[in-house]
Subunit: 351 residues, 2 copies
């Protein structure tokens, strides 16, 4: 996590200094002809001048939308022999050659949590010691160590609707980090004591209520939908991850054009295959980006009472370039991984 | 070439019927810190509903711009151990798993030539028998068999500035296709006798002059710059490959935004790192697309005298999905290729 935080911070600074470049995420949607599942191919890229590296991150997912407790949740089905498919490909910008290809799962959650923690380093109270977590899944599991790396966290409260999940999670975190972690049966019991409150769920609707935002709290999320407009408006200061608020969607059945949709599930279910009206940009779109915060273009927390908020909206290729190049360096120095001859990926005919 | 034409035609029809989806090409530019060369990472994707497949095509190139005979030409340097890096990755949309990864070079030129030939099938005179080719490189070499597959070509004239190149090319084509091929020392000597005139060069400026467009000719190119405005305007009918006329460029040094530039070389050489003014859309942008021609939304050639023109502008991922899935089927049925365990590309953690 320390390495993640360091190389991610460096990459955001390079992006601010225009020594890095980022190609925004695009999503390709293909409904299944025989089930309500949808195939989604997601990709993004970024390059770092100093590291002399480009990273492509791709996902080849089967997505299922379900209703749970009145909320729509989105699930990635491990349909490929019981597993998922997400890859990071690294290339040298010095001679173009492919350097590595590896699964994205661990890097994926580390980068989300590390980005949230970098924001918290600048926005949470210096003396913050209580962490509230909503969610007990993959993303939540990385947020606890990430937040512990930027603040001296003494106590963690975790809420998750399933009792067994929150209890397992609490035990795991205690064992891993030596920080007292209490599972709680109601989300507000995680929210009220929190100096830092994290939503790390797969919910497409609000999970953090506005009344939980007491003075001095810092709140963060892995999707803006987890906060919702009223909660975000209650914050005194908001920082966003990226001004690019929507992935660029290309949806089978809708023609050649890029489709604007926060989540295309409703479009996919609709009979109407004409392009929808443009999405109204979210009201928080003019707020500063994380890279502005990390380069002191905007200040961090200004008082003990401020309510601060980081919206970890749509991901950036730069996160995969930063962490991917660190993984590559560590793997090659330790001799970890399998060697596939580079020559298999080169061609002697002109592309 | 027959397989290429068949599967490509099918894919364009599927695109027209919205049974295919295409993510437009994006280019990431990273200038080299120590030379005038530029690293470019290019990617595009497409999915086919019926084939249950998605293809990603990527290129990891070192580009050098040079002046030759007063014209700017763009060269891809084989910097990766003397080779180039271009890859096609195929994924199953049924379960998401990766199916194949292979170099793009052969597919790349086959799809360009096959697209040109599909247009010629609808636009060239039925009795066309003389083919003029400007260029003797990789792209030119695929255009001769492609045009021979759609018309009974009896004679080919090839012009290329270097005598040895055009002579070698002529010999090769004769040997391969059994069609009389004459190397000529002036481009007009290839143009005047031609029923079908093809520019397949790496020139960024005009190579087909308007005065060469006699009644009944069909002209085509691999870049609109090879024709230029005056030549295109002289055609009675114009069909384009894709309305998306520019790749989406992301250029290191220019911030986060997509940069509109026909070819970013001038921007890269400029000291001014502010985003340039928007590119004026080309005057031919409202012309029908190849997919409209193949689905009879617009008619093919209307008379023996018509001057027809196909602008094979920016490439489409769909071409790689179409040819890539054909390559995959043929390779697996013949047992060609190397097996890399699929499991190396799967992950048991949630991406």
């Amino acid at each position: 996590m320390k390495t993640c935080l360091a190389c991610l911070e460096k990459a955001y600074k390079e992006l601010a200094e225009r020594r890095a470049v980022n190609r925004p995420r695009t999503d390709l949607y293909i409904p299944s002809p025989e089930s309500p599942d949808v195939y989604v191919f997601k990709s993004m890229e970024a390059g770092l001048l100093d590291s002399r590296m480009v990273a492509l991150r791709l996902n080849s997912d089967i997505i299922r939308w379900r209703e749970r407790e009145g909320k729509t949740v989105k699930e990635k089905i491990p349909a490929a022999r019981g597993k998922w498919v997400g890859l990071i490909l690294l290339f040298s910008t010095q001679n173009g050659e492919p350097l590595a290809i590896f699964p994205d799962g661990v890097v994926q959650r580390m980068r989300v949590a590390a980005s949230s923690a970098l924001a918290a380093r600048y926005l949470a109270r210096g003396g913050a010691q209580t962490l509230g977590i909503l969610g007990s899944g993959w993303q939540a599991g990385a947020h606890v160590p990430a937040m512990c790396a930027v603040r001296k966290i003494a106590e963690v409260y975790v809420y998750s609707p399933t009792q067994a999940n929150r209890e397992d999670f609490a035990q795991q975190m205690e064992r891993k980090l030596g920080v007292r972690t209490r599972p709680v049966a109601r989300p507000e019991d995680a929210a009220y004591p929190a100096d830092i409150l994290v939503a790390a769920t797969n919910s497409l609707s609000r999970v953090i209520l506005p009344e939980w935002l007491k003075p001095g709290i810092h709140v963060t999320c892995v999707k803006d939908s987890e906060l919702g407009e009223t909660t975000i408006r209650k914050a005194d200061r908001v920082i966003i991850h990226s001004r690019k608020f929507l992935p660029e969607n290309y949806i089978l059945g809708f023609g050649d054009e890029k489709i604007e949709a926060q989540d295309p599930i409703n479009l996919l279910r609709s009979e109407d295959k004409s392009a929808p009206a443009a999405v109204k940009p979210p009201f928080w779109l003019a707020e500063p980006e994380l890279k502005d915060l990390l380069t002191d273009k905007v200040s961090g927390r200004r008082s003990e009472e401020e309510v601060t908020c980081f919206i970890n909206n749509v991901g950036l290729g730069i996160q995969f370039a930063a962490l991917g190049s660190a993984v590559y360096k560590e793997a090659t120095s330790k001799g970890i991984g399998r060697e596939i001859p580079t020559d298999w990926f080169l061609e002697s005919v002109h592309p």
